[in-house]
Symmetry: C2
Subunit: 481 residues, 2 copies
């Protein structure tokens, strides 16, 4: 029906491969490379030498954000270039409404199926159309069980290794067949969390990240003769819960609390995967023609499943699922052969990867619906919107909207219709709420921008349990009549 | 329910008055001041000396656009700062669906009531909240008959002179009581087009523009003692059809076709109104504290009701209701006492007036949902979307979407799913469609941006009569699978 306007065949000769290495729940501090002004306790604790080697010739983004403090919204934002506030995939998916019961609010009628055809075009679909081999490895979590995007092939991945609807693994151990039942020591019965398609490793002493890496390296080697570039979305399930040690590395972290030591081995496991992938790319001669992107899908776990107070992302406050930067600030390191390396504080967000990756592939998309290329500088308001309760009772874990613009971060909490304003430049830990002392102009600017962005995206507000009506949009005095 | 966050009383002492003088259906050439590179035949024909005097100390915008090629969408875009593609007020309102019957498409379920509370906050409402006296004079056309915004007071005007649901006058003559029935020489019976509230002028030899001006000047004088600034939306119904001469000026245009001569007197009448308003502002001592904005709500009439071929906006092609720049390019002249004057080719659009006027009033809104201050430079994609047929059978009058970005204009015609691409820099008259020869990158850039803007705004596409399905969004090859 549409004339085939742009059917020009594209010569893949000069197109680079792209590896998007997206660790799950990896916090801003969960690597040995310092992203803050000085190395922190965590940077010193965690051992990621292969990443550090890669980063030497990479651009290190010190102010990268995930689109959401939970996973499906961020992952789907990368696949679409759209803010979760717009797609209404505003929470993590599995089956029905996964939102926790909040004392004050009910979630809106969000898109709990995950990605649907209307949300396209999808990143792997476009790359596939343009001659790329598109490979998914590991955690997918793009669509709910039995729904359109449960299988990553629905959105354009030609190869799928171990990806399905669930966002966490039953177990990280091959000896558990990566299943919940064997981890829990019960008779084997199927669980939605059991990893599909890795039967060759069942019963073996292998960590899930290692099994996925072996499969990924196999595909890279096999692809050598294809005569086309590849896009690989490598998502190692780790360092998502359950926190389970990779025993190969455990002795190195003997001084730590047992759970924190296990966490450190999960980190070292992803680093080993980077090492293996890089070696394979070098062995196949593809390394100098491969863009390698290292990132996460949301901030690190803090009080939930971790030892310590609410400080696992320090100097940031809070963690996954929360209103604070600990929930949304993430590492981003991009290795582009022959391109400038260094550090940048240009503020970028997950959906920026959509136009950026298309740009690396030579597909001139300029920008996406809500993202722009990460190389583009200049400030813009960034909106984070989660009208859901993540279920952990800890400070800052509640339904909210945040807007970051310039040095400031405004948060609107849906339970109490309250505002918090932080100066991230002088107060990265969000300790001092300055909403009471801020100038009228600053408040109008920030609240006005939040309201505009929500309207632009046709965002859904949660429902007040008290009134049965949607929580009001944030508004300034002049917009309240 | 919302905490009164920004209730700080605002001192009105330094706030300027704002007059928004918005002529109806005034084309880009319908003034004596040249907006193209050289004075045109039309600039020489039309006599607007008072506007020329004002313009000496004004900023003249040579590349201003209306949000739509018809009136209600543009007028409501100014009141909201939102693109008609977003509000779904995508056509002119009166009663029910006013769209003409198109051979190929049906209109979408557009917002035929006009403005509704959800579309707020409204410009006059905000200004009123901040201590302005808000005055509407003349054509309103913000809401359909009997609906929310039929009376301009609903959206925050404190004073309403002669504004209601209809977008055109029954007659321009006081001797006709400004009514349809007397114009048509029939026994008097009410019509929706009859102008309300000007009974004091009934039976008198006065032109509608003159009556409105007298009333506006009265309000300006009365407001002198109020101790508050005013915002006046002055919309003289003219130069909208019916084309009726102001006989006071007719002898000057004796050499012209009768209809064109009448049109010229309508133009001279608005110019006289500017002269009277300026004199009154000077007499009351308010002139040096008044921002005076002169503009239109869409391009000028061309084949419809005018003498001549489709050339009434030359060098532009087409006119009101059409896909061409003749339908959307409009004059914009802004007089700000004490501010720099001159000419600028910064491309601006009607909804930019929302944040601009708030800015003049010292209300720091920065930008609106779809507009930005007209002083801000830098290119951006501008979307024009009218999924309706205006009913006149002339080239380019059909349902369409256009996007202007950089030097290019892309138009997507909904009947045939066809694309037209023009280089406005070298081809202001849109004579040479270059879609066939444009580079793949340019086509992807323009079609991609159009698709993104439509998605961002949650725009409605018309329905194909053949398939019963919505017309597909514009798309490039990569987005078609």
């Amino acid at each position: 029906m549409i004339p085939g306007l742009l059917t020009t065949a594209i010569q893949p000769d000069q197109r680079p491969n792209v590896v998007l290495f997206i660790v799950d729940d990896l916090g801003w501090q969960d690597l040995s490379i310092p992203l803050h002004t000085e190395p922190t306790e965590f940077n010193k604790r965690y051992q990621t030498p292969h990443l550090a080697e890669l980063a030497k010739n990479s651009m290190i983004y010190t102010r990268a954000y995930s689109a959401s403090p939970v996973c499906t919204p961020t992952r789907t934002s990368i696949m679409t270039g759209k803010n979760p506030a717009r797609t209404h995939i505003s929470y993590w998916t599995l089956q029905g409404d996964t939102s926790a019961n909040d004392p004050k609010t009910k979630p809106p009628a969000w898109q709990m199926e995950g990605l649907l055809p209307k949300d396209g075009p999808f990143l792997p679909q476009i790359l596939s159309d343009y001659g790329y081999k598109t490979i998914h490895v590991g955690k997918a979590h793009f669509g709910a069980i039995g729904k359109y995007a449960a299988d990553p092939k629905a959105i354009g991945f030609q190869v799928n290794i171990a990806g399905h609807a669930a966002g966490g693994p039953g177990s990280f151990y091959g000896t558990h067949n990566f299943s919940t039942s064997l981890r829990q020591g019960k008779p084997s019965e199927p669980s939605v969390w059991d990893i599909p398609g890795l039967e060759e490793f069942h019963g073996k002493d292998i960590y899930l990240t290692e099994a996925l890496t072996q499969k990924a390296c196999d595909v890279i080697r096999e692809s050598k003769g294809d005569g086309k570039p590849f896009f690989m979305n490598f998502a190692p399930y780790a360092v998502h819960a359950p926190i389970m040690a990779n025993k190969r590395y455990l002795s190195k972290y003997a001084g730590l609390d047992q759970r924190e030591a296990a966490y450190a081995t999960m980190i070292e496991s992803y680093d080993a995967a980077i090492g293996d992938l890089v070696s394979t790319l070098q062995a196949t001669g593809e390394y100098d023609n491969t863009v390698f992107i290292f990132t996460s899908d949301n901030g690190g776990l803090s009080v939930h499943s971790r030892a310590g107070k609410d400080d696992r992302n320090a100097p940031l406050r809070g963690g996954k699922g929360s209103i604070y930067d600990g929930g949304i600030r993430i590492p981003l390191i991009v290795h582009r052969p022959g391109k400038p390396a260094g550090r940048t504080d240009n503020r970028v967000v997950s959906m920026d990867l959509f136009p950026s990756i298309l740009g690396y592939a030579g597909i001139n998309s300029v920008d996406s619906v809500d993202g722009r290329r990460i190389e583009v500088e200049g400030d813009r308001p960034l909106l984070f919107h989660m009208p859901h309760f993540w279920g952990v009772n800890a400070p800052g874990i509640e339904p909210f909207t945040s807007l970051i613009w310039g040095r400031y971060k405004l948060t609107y909490t849906h339970r109490d219709l309250g505002y918090q304003l932080y100066d991230l430049q002088s107060d990265i830990g969000e300790q001092k709420n300055i909403i009471g002392s801020a100038s009228r102009d600053l408040k109008i600017k920030m609240i006005g921008a939040m309201s505009r962005e929500l309207q632009r995206m046709n965002a859904q507000m949660p429902i007040s349990k008290e009134t049965g009506e949607p929580i009001p949009m944030p508004r300034t005095q002049w917009s309240s009549n």
